[in-house]
Symmetry: C2
DNA sequence: CTGTCCATGTAAATGGTTACATGATTTC
DNA sequence: GAAATCATGTAACCATTTACATGGACAG
């Protein structure tokens, strides 16, 4: 049951509406978790019912009203308890890897197409994360920010997201190169 | 619905029993997917009913009988179709990252304890993957194996697993260092 | 004689995805 | 005039986890 804690963690930066939460969880800005809008709205309702967040209505004129939520003291306690408890290891679970696992038995071109797409996607996220990091640290160098910048949590998770996507991109590109080379040499031997 | 394809991909290497499948999916040997034993047994039943795998009973003396499964032609077709279809992007979903996201609001020591544990876990997987890779390529150098070794699929996914766990370990260690340094300097300023 | 490995499941509960629904406003 | 953005949900379905169950063989 970590979605609730992910939402709590996301709200620590300041109050947000369901819609704004949706945006951050969607664009991968919240690289520490991923969730559908429907899940978020449902979770917000539950969290408020349980008193872990408090919502306030904001009336708007030329757009629908919205509710902004912020973490309560009870919410902070809940997060502290969650942090103290043991974390389960995170496993990879990826369609694309399943396909590559079967590489010897499926069409190489189809595989390469998907790897390219994934590499491009990863590059997109890389660019985004890079921008976010620069934004967070402002004028400071990375070292300066890491030593005393504030808040540090989102910066650290963003660094993990960056490394993950870099790993993704590099592996995809390398795999493409390998598969292409093998395709060429097996053609020659026919 | 990719568990079925993960199972099919895992069976490509040769026929396996449910129990043997369990082992590989458990130990992270199948780094492309992760699943509980119960899920695997259920999926095997379904796959056999759908004719994508065929099982044969193996009678044993001093241990329970078992059923070995292998992929049928229909199963291979199914895998090919799956490979041709677009893959969804893989998202990180990790308890530990949620905790780090909240780093500014929770106990630093608890966080560091968890990061150390994760780093050790990642190191364990690194060692395992390294051994697996060496096993697969035998006498050959990595380059030789990548150029013509067989099967290549499992080798490629294992490389991804290796890179992922290396990323995990390095990030955990770096994060620990950063958090410790900050804890020290904030103590001095009190 | 206790614990681990082999071997296979069922049942209940929780978590996540997909499809559907609504309606005003601003931007192209 | 069409599409995207803001704003919030409900309902049905699928996937995953957790708990429970069984039983012989072998190692310490």
């Amino acid at each position: 049951m970590a979605l609730r804690h992910a939402v709590l963690a996301a709200l620590l930066g300041g109050e947000l509406s369901g819609y704004q939460l949706t945006k951050s969880f969607d664009l991968g800005v919240a690289n520490f978790w991923h969730a559908q809008p429907q899940q978020l709205y449902a979770e917000l309702t539950r969290l408020e019912k349980d008193g872990l967040i408090a919502g306030r209505e904001v009336v708007q004129e030329s757009r629908p009203n919205k509710r902004l939520f912020q973490v309560t003291d009870a919410g902070l306690t809940e997060l502290a308890d969650f942090t103290a408890a043991a974390a389960k290891p995170a496993f990879i679970r990826d369609d694309l890897l399943v396909k590559v696992q079967a590489a010897d038995h499926v069409d190489t071109e189809a595989l390469i197409a998907q790897l390219s797409e994934r590499a491009a996607f990863a590059q997109g996220k890389l660019d985004l994360f890079d921008k976010l990091l620069r934004n967070m640290r402002g004028e400071r160098t990375e070292d300066e920010f890491l030593r005393g910048g504030d808040p540090i949590g989102p910066y650290l998770t963003c660094l993990r997201g960056l490394a993950f996507e870099r790993g993704n991109r590099d592996w995809c590109q390398r795999t493409i190169t390998i598969l292409r080379a093998r395709a060429r040499s097996s053609q020659q031997s026919i």
